[in-house]
Amino acid sequence: MANPDIQPSGASGVSEDAAIQIIGMHKWYGDFHVLKDIDLTVYRGERIVICGPSGSGKSTLIRCINRLEEHQQGQIIVENIELTNDLKGIDAIRREVGMVFQHFNLFPHLTVLENLTLAPIWVRKVAKAEAEEMAMEYLERVKIPEQALKFPGQLSGGQQQRVAIARSLCMNPRIMLFDEPTSALDPEMISEVLDVMVSLAESGMTMLCVTHEMGFARKIANRVMFMDEGEIIEQNEPEEFFNNPKSERTKLFLSQILSH
């Protein structure tokens, strides 16, 4: 494989430090080969930004990590648990992996507070009072504690996405997946969400972000990855990636998204 894995010093092969390991993974939608021979190791505390044109498979890739999509070949190992059809393994992984979606996917019939406490109470079996206390802490952290008793439909897009981030954090995940978290937001709301993500990155969370926010990538990513047509084309440190892209496809993509 020509993937130049950038690894922290001393790490090689199967690593204890690996939060996620993907080895020779393929995925098909019917006849369509959507992910091709993906090899990726994500180390604890690492922050990876994945970019690429639409349809390149980047969302599908991170959705495979918590089994919202099933892969057909290769291995995915998350927190030392391999993803197979074993439901217990899937549940265990989902408890450790939080996900933030493009369209927030808050539960509209529950208040903000209930959205946050649902999984801790029903999955982690935390007592209600304790779950609420924790939820309020996370709402403070995303700077909207005053919205706790409102319904998601009463909040702005940026606020909803911050609630969605807080909701994932309430499960105390070790890994956070972000699937285009700012793509559905009005421009003036993007920064409030990115601010929360930056502070999360600074706290040492392992993060995989599919995003086109290149400023965000420069600021917090350890590694930027470019995907096209189901393949990982190039990955590098952000400075090198943006200033000195190696592949023609990367250059073309960067010129398209940075030209205006």
């Binding site: 918590n66 089994r67 919202l68 549940d91 989902r94 408890r95 992996v97 939080g98 996900m99 979606f101 369209h103 996917n105 808050l106 539960f107 509209p108 019939h109 649902l118 999984a119 029903w122 999955v123 319904f151 998601p152 439909g153 009463q154 909701r167 994932s168 499960m171």
Partner: protein, 371 residues
């Protein structure tokens, strides 16, 4: 080229009240009833129509009506051109209880009173301990009602052959309604299952009852079914009808629920899965509460339909309220009172169906959280 004139607002424009004639009752009448010459003609024509129908109805039903409850039935309702409500008044108890023994009717009253009080407690928001009241209605109440209605032990036994009137109508409506919601939901979930055997079984259980008229289901359950059972086995007639109607109602309910499930965006399922919720928790906590909200109008329509369909039990010889009334009008003392009987029946059915409809609207408003 037009010249761009720079403009900067320096003063705030205050909120002003709307111009006169844009609000109030006169405005409403003008906009809604007399907005054009054609609408004005329609309004006047409609008023005339209301006049020619309501006035005679009022005269017949109220002004000229006979409200007495005579001791001598031969003298009842001699006046011309008015409704004979004496018929309803004299036979009222029979319309309510059928041939249920007089001295045991308090049991029916008690059972329904308990049900109404519990349901009211569940519907009124301020009442505490809803969880326990709900458990009581679901777990204990069916046995309590069964015991009160049928008797046994300390209570005198009442055969279901003596059941009738509004009492029987309500039993025939409430039981299938209560059974159809949980079973319909299970059938709908089964139909969307990825497991082929469960899916095919559920599709059969939904499509078979839905493909035949209710009247056929009733015939099957009461006439054909006993032919296939070993001789000597006896199922109570009311029980057979209840089983048939419950099946039928559950099949319809399943399709209503499936429609609601399909309206929930995929993202809701994905968010619930990503949080680690199991299938049943995802369905119970996230998907069904949202789906049920969407389905309220559909569910209540099925309930209303089911309530009115109970009159079909005439084909298997059960005397629900409508059939008791029809039978009573044939009595020699009350010949010619069909209209009063049917008006009364229509009124009772309407009160029940309209209440269900209003409650569903209230529920929709209460559950409407996405603004």
């Amino acid at each position: 080229m037009p010249v761009v004139e720079p403009f900067v607002r320096t003063e705030h424009c205050p909120d002003l009240p709307p111009p006169r004639g844009q609000t109030g009752i006169v405005h409403w009448i003008r906009v809604n009833l007399f907005s054009s010459p054609f609408n004005a003609v329609l309004t006047i024509a409609s008023l005339y129509l209301v006049y020619v129908t309501v006035v005679p109805l009022f005269t017949w039903g109220v002004l000229n009506a006979d409200w007495t409850s005579p001791n001598n039935l031969d003298r009842a309702c001699q006046s011309e051109g008015g409704a004979c409500w004496s018929f309803i008044i004299v036979r009222f108890n029979q319309f309510m209880y059928g041939f249920y023994p007089h001295e045991a009717r308090w049991r029916v009253d008690t059972a329904f009173a308990i049900l109404v009080i519990s349901l009211a407690a569940l519907m009124i928001e301020r009442v505490p301990y809803k969880k326990y009241i709900g458990l009581f209605v679901i777990v204990i109440y069916p046995f309590l009602a069964y015991f009160l209605f049928l008797g046994g032990g300390v209570l005198e036994e009442v055969d279901t052959g003596q059941w009738g009137g509004l009492f029987l109508t309500l039993v025939l409506a409430v039981v299938p309604i209560a059974v159809s919601l949980p079973f319909g939901t299970l059938l709908a979930l089964g139909r969307r299952s990825e497991m082929p055997i469960i899916r095919s079984v559920c599709i059969c259980l939904i499509e078979l009852p839905r493909g035949v008229p209710l009247i056929t289901v009733l015939f099957m359950s009461s006439v054909v079914l006993p032919l296939f059972l070993p001789p000597g086995t006896y199922f109570d007639k009311v029980l057979r009808v209840l089983v048939g109607m419950s099946f039928f109602a559950a099949a319809y309910m399943a399709e209503t629920v499936r429609g609601g499930l399909q309206a929930i965006p995929r993202g809701q399922y994905e968010a619930a899965q990503a949080m680690g919720l199991s299938y049943w928790k995802m369905m119970g906590l996230v998907i069904l509460p949202q789906a049920l909200k969407i389905m309220i109008p559909g569910i209540v329509s099925s309930f209303i339909g089911l309530f009115k369909d109970t009159t079909l039990v005439v084909v298997v010889g059960l005397l629900d309220m409508l059939n008791v009334i029809t039978a009573a009008t044939a009595h020699s003392n009350w010949l010619g009172t069909n209209i009063e009987g049917y008006v009364f029946a229509a009124f009772v059915y309407w009160v029940f169906c309209f209440s269900m409809s209003r409650y569903s609207i209230y529920l929709e408003h209460k559950l409407h959280t996405s603004h």
